[in-house]
Amino acid sequence: MTCTEFLSKLDDYFDGKVDADVLAEVQAHVKKCSHCEVVLDTTRKTISIYRENEVYEFPAELRERLHAAIMKKCSKAKV
């Protein structure tokens, strides 16, 4: 497996969707290629850091205001 092939498997790998033989190849590649090992680890961290941190705040005050505006708008619509 080349580095490019490795990258093309990343998505399915993270989703746990690669077949056992491909999984073995990915793992073997990472073992011998320190660059891809880092890419794997830091890409995983990139995803989790965006998933776990609320990048944009959604304060209760904004939520209530938006919610009320949405419902008001819809109440004027045809059903």
Binding site: S34, N53, V55, H67
Partner: protein, 208 residues
């Protein structure tokens, strides 16, 4: 090693009953759907437009359109995917209006090789959360995703922030599955590369 899982296939989604009731004119059922998804829709809109006022408008418009078009929702997809699709379209439209000189579409950016080949191979040690405080980290994350082309940003947001499956993302964006996959890879690698400037293990050199 732990894989990042996306949703498993579900049985009958609880939204199905709510949508059915809303279609019959049950406002409370629709309101419950609004409660469930207003945060997600706002977040998607803000990620794509990078503008809070726009995101507020888009959230209102998206739910309003969904309400008006509810009859047309056939239930072939999840209600949330359908809703996200409406919000994405509204967001992209808003971006186009704002940047009259630049085209904004899901088809752009495909040619650029920039950042799609990893260059920075430094480890991230210690973990970013240990390196930066919450507000500083938030600032870095916002700045970094802002630098991505809108098409990449959108795919990353739906797949990785909102945890939609590849198929759902493709449906919400009107893209093919391979197109989503290729954009997602580039988006992730570009973000990784940019974040690495902040998070890479320092060897005595100055902070970026």
């Amino acid at each position: 090693m732990p894989a990042i899982q996306s949703q498993v296939a579900e049985e009958v989604h609880p939204d199905v009953a709510l949508v059915a009731r809303a279609k019959l004119g049950d406002t409370a059922a629709f309101e419950q759907l609004v409660r469930q998804y207003e945060r997600q829709i706002f977040r998607v809109a803000q990620h794509i437009t990078q503008n809070r006022e726009d995101a507020e408008d888009i959230t209102q418009d998206a739910f309003f359109k969904a309400y008006e078009k509810l009859e047309q929702f056939q239930g072939n997809s999840k209600f949330s995917t359908w809703l996200v699709r409406i919000a994405v379209n509204e967001s992209l439209m808003r971006l186009r209006k704002r940047k009259t000189s630049r085209t904004v579409s899901m088809d752009e950016d495909v040619q650029t090789e920039d950042g799609s080949i990893p260059r920075d191979f430094a480890e991230w040690r210690p973990n970013p959360e240990q390196l930066y405080g919450q507000s500083e980290l938030g600032e870095i994350l916002r700045k970094t995703i802002q630098g991505l082309p809108p098409g990449f940003r959108t795919v990353f947001t739906l797949r990785d922030v909102e945890n939609l499956s590849t198929e759902e993302t493709a449906e919400a964006l009107g893209l093919s599955v391979p197109a989503v996959k290729s954009r997602l890879l580039r988006a992730r690698l570009q973000l990784r590369e940019r974040l690495s400037r902040y998070f890479r293990k320092k060897n005595g050199e100055a902070k970026p």
